[in-house]
Symmetry: C2
Subunit: 125 residues, 2 copies
C-alpha cells in the first residue's frame, strides 16, 4: 500500500496549519489513483509530527511512503531536518520503503505557476 | 511601465536568498511580454527590502507595480506585513499604481503541481 505524506513547516497560527490540512485533502483526491492514503505532518510547532504521521500510515497498512516537502527553499529543514527524521523512521521500519520527493520550490512548474498568478492583476492596496 | 515584484520572506542562509533571485530571473523571462521589469525583494533578513526594491523599480520608470507574494500560507506576513509596507509606499508615490497578486499558496494550480511532484518517485533516504 502506497501512501503520500505532505510535510510542511508548521505554524503557531491555527489557520496556517489548517491550510496545509486542506492542501493535503485536495491532493488526496488528485492522487488517489497512485496513493491509497494521503496524510500531512508538520516539522515543528503543530501536530501531527512527521514520526506520528508515519506511524499512523504504517498502522493503516502502508508499505511505501513518499514524503513530499512543502517548502520553498532548500534550507536546513529540507537538507537535514526532514531527511534525518525520515532516516530514523526508516531504520525502525525496514519493511517499509520511504522516499523523499523533490521539495516544492524545486518543481519545474513553479515558474509557470507564478507567471499565471501574475496575470491575475492583483488587488489594489 | 509595468513591473513585477516577487516578495519572499528572506533567510539567514545566503543560498536560500539566491534561490529567490534565480526564481525572479526565470520568472522575468517568462513574463517579459507583460512586465518590462521583474525584481525580487525580501520582507526581512535579506536585501533588497521591499521599499528598496519598489524605489528602484520607480527610479527605472515603473508606473505600475504588481507585488507577487512568494508565501505558502496566509499568515501575518501575507495579511498584514506585506500589505502594510506596500500601502506606505503607495502613499508616497501616488502616481504609481500598486497591486498585490494572490499569494503563491492560494494558486489554483498548486494541487496539480504537487500531484506532479508526487509522480517523481523520490529519492531513497
Amino acid at each position: 500500500m502506497k501512501s503520500l505524506l505532505l510535510v510542511a513547516h508548521g505554524s503557531r497560527r491555527r489557520e496556517s496549519n489548517e491550510e496545509i490540512a486542506q492542501v493535503a485533502n485536495s491532493l488526496c483526491e488528485q492522487v488517489q489513483d497512485q496513493f491509497e492514503c494521503t496524510q500531512h505532518a508538520f516539522l515543528e510547532l503543530a501536530e501531527p509530527s512527521i514520526p506520528e504521521a508515519i506511524e499512523q500510515l504504517i498502522s493503516q497498512g502502508a508499505t511505501e511512503v513518499l514524503i513530499l516537502p512543502y517548502f520553498l527553499s532548500a534550507g536546513r529543514h529540507v537538507h537535514e531536518d526532514v531527511p534525518g527524521i525520515i532516516q530514523a523512521k526508516q531504520k525502525e521500519h525496514q519493511n517499509v520503503t520511504m522516499h523523499i520527493a523533490p521539495y516544492l520550490g524545486e518543481s519545474e512548474d513553479m515558474i509557470a505557476l507564478l507567471a499565471k498568478l501574475s496575470t491575475h492583476g492583483g488587488s489594489k492596496v
